[in-house]
């Protein structure tokens, strides 16, 4: 399989994630979009690992790290979203603008 396929696939996946982060209002959806972006990166890492197998094998290891970090990040992210919902009865991030001037 040419390297091209997974890379194009990853690019689409990443773009979908960017769109989700920038355009969705729901905080949970934003978190999920971030997961999409991370997984696009994982696909890239694994693809290059397969492509450069003879020289390097660290791509898989890196991907595993990313999965572990992503799991931690989702844990914290969901906890924050939960607290925001408890305090403000909303998960619409347009309304969460405490860091304004």
């Amino acid at each position: 399989m040419p390297l091209m396929y997974p890379l194009v696939f990853a690019a689409f996946l990443f773009s979908a994630g960017v769109y989700g982060v920038l355009a969705r209002r729901n905080a949970v959806m934003v978190l999920m979009s971030i997961e999409l972006m991370l997984n696009a990166v994982n696909v890239n890492l694994v693809a290059f690992n397969a492509y450069l197998r003879d020289q390097l094998v660290s791509g898989q290891v890196f991907a595993l790290f990313v999965i572990a970090v992503a799991a931690a990040e989702v844990g914290i992210g969901l906890a924050i979203v939960l607290l925001i919902f408890r305090n403000r009865e909303t998960v619409n991030i347009d309304e969460v603008d405490l860091l304004r001037w």
Partner: protein
Amino acid sequence: MEKLAWLVPALPLVAWAVQLLVGKRLPGGGAGVGILAVAIGWVISLAILFGIIGGADAYHVSREWAPIGAGFDLPLGMTVDGLAAVMMVVVTTISLFVQIYSLSYMRGDERYTLFFANLSLFTAGMLIVVLADNLLLMLFGWEIMGICSYLLIGHYWEDVANARAAVKAFLTTRVGDLGFMAGIFVFAWAARSFDIERIIEGVSSGEISSTTVTLGAALLFCGAIGKSGQFPLHTWLPDAMAGPTPVSALIHAATMVAAGVFLVARMYPVFEASGSVLDEIGILASITMLIAALLALVQDDIKRVLAYSTVSQLAYMMAALSVGGYSAGIFHLFTHAFFKALLFLAAGSIIHAVHSNNMSEMGGLARVMPVTFVTFLVGALALAGIAPLAGFWSKDEILTDAWNAGFGGTGHAATSQTVAQIVFVTGMVTAFLTAVYVARMLWLTFGAAFRGQGHPHEADAGMLFPLVVLAVGAALAGFVGLGDNSISTWIQTTHLPSEGPATLNLGLIVATTVIALAGLALGTALYRRGLPEHEYLERLPLVWKTLQRKYFLDDLYEQGIVRAVAGALAPATYWFDQRVVDGVVNGAGLGTRRLARGLRYVQSGQAQWYAAALFLGVVGLAVVVTRLIGS
């Protein structure tokens, strides 16, 4: 004992700190601390001087203070040679007795403790100058004296005139100090060192070019002009009489003003190497001694008479140095310190008694103040140069040196003969004028009948004791210049071998004595019956006016310099400072604030906007990086 020399300036410095911090809570207002410090220093100084007289070698210690690279370092050290030892004895002696005198004189003063603290600091400053082995340390002590002079002249600052006199003294000497500093940098740059010994070696070995030597010596002499009240910067010294009388005795007669003379003496081989500067010193000193003596003739304020006399006598010392009389100049400094301090302190006792500085309100005091009269008489005759009192010997040695250099054919190589002749002639004329104003001062103060208010009385023992001691000094100090082991042997250095004992020229001795006696006789004839209704010189309106206006020098400075500076330069620099310098500073702050007020709306709190900006940034960076790598 030489190793303890550092204690001599250090102790008064400690005393100063103690007096400032806790002086008011100590018994006696803390005055005793300063006196004790100086007394210990006095004992050490005397021991060192006797060591030198006994043939001890000069002691030199130096330590690196701070390296500043480029082969330079800032040294911190002291030279304890004969010159320093003689000066230390002069400074500590005068300081000690002036402080003892001040105990009575300043009693009840509002700023009693501060006064003594300033005296201590001043003493320390002068001793630092005396002991310094490098020009930077000397400048340090020099400036301490400048600030002390300012503080003490302005001691009674409630009176605006006194405060102005203090500012005048500070600024006028500062003009000279600028030259001094420039001179220091010239030599430091040329010799790659601030060390006096190294500079002198560099000059005598020809390592430093003669142009540099001449420039540097002339600049150094500027400092001496300012500090030692030489023409044309002498105008501050008479005004400095605004300070309390003990200050006049200590600072403006015996020690600080001698610092300029000491500087020239310390750097004497350098001045010798630049002959033309010695000529300039001779000319300026001749002018100074003459015009100051003339001014002393017409003053009513007794302290001003003494102040102009000081200017004139300092010029004598400078003149001695200019004709190669290294030891004669220092000898005169030594004797002058005693009799001038004595005269000032005695004048203080008189002022204390009649509550006025003006001789028109004195007279007939010989009967009511016998001790003051006798001591004052000793000092006055010493000043006039009557044998065998102190001033006679030193003045005679100066005139002998000038005679030898000008007419005797054994001239000093570095000085031109014409200058030496001028110095000799003006020296003789000044000796005559000195005798005249001394007689005038004596008769107006002690002769005839009392013209003032109230009932004057003799001062108390606390003030009379220093007078008596200094009178003994003024009578006997001249004998250190006689014999084989005389002052000229003590102060010799490797670069300045002793000129041997003073050569007594019998013809000159007779001539100077006759001149002094003639002057005294003239003064007596004119002022025996007290103050004439019109001063004799008033018959020469032009001369009178010129002397009254002090040769219009003050007017010149006031109109020419002060007005230009205060009238145009000061507002201009003020405007520049306010608008341009402050404008830049304030503008920076104000601009930032205005910018921030506009920019803060970027912080919308919308996390998705931030994320969008982040992505744009990353994309932009990616484009730039790929372009850079690609090309």
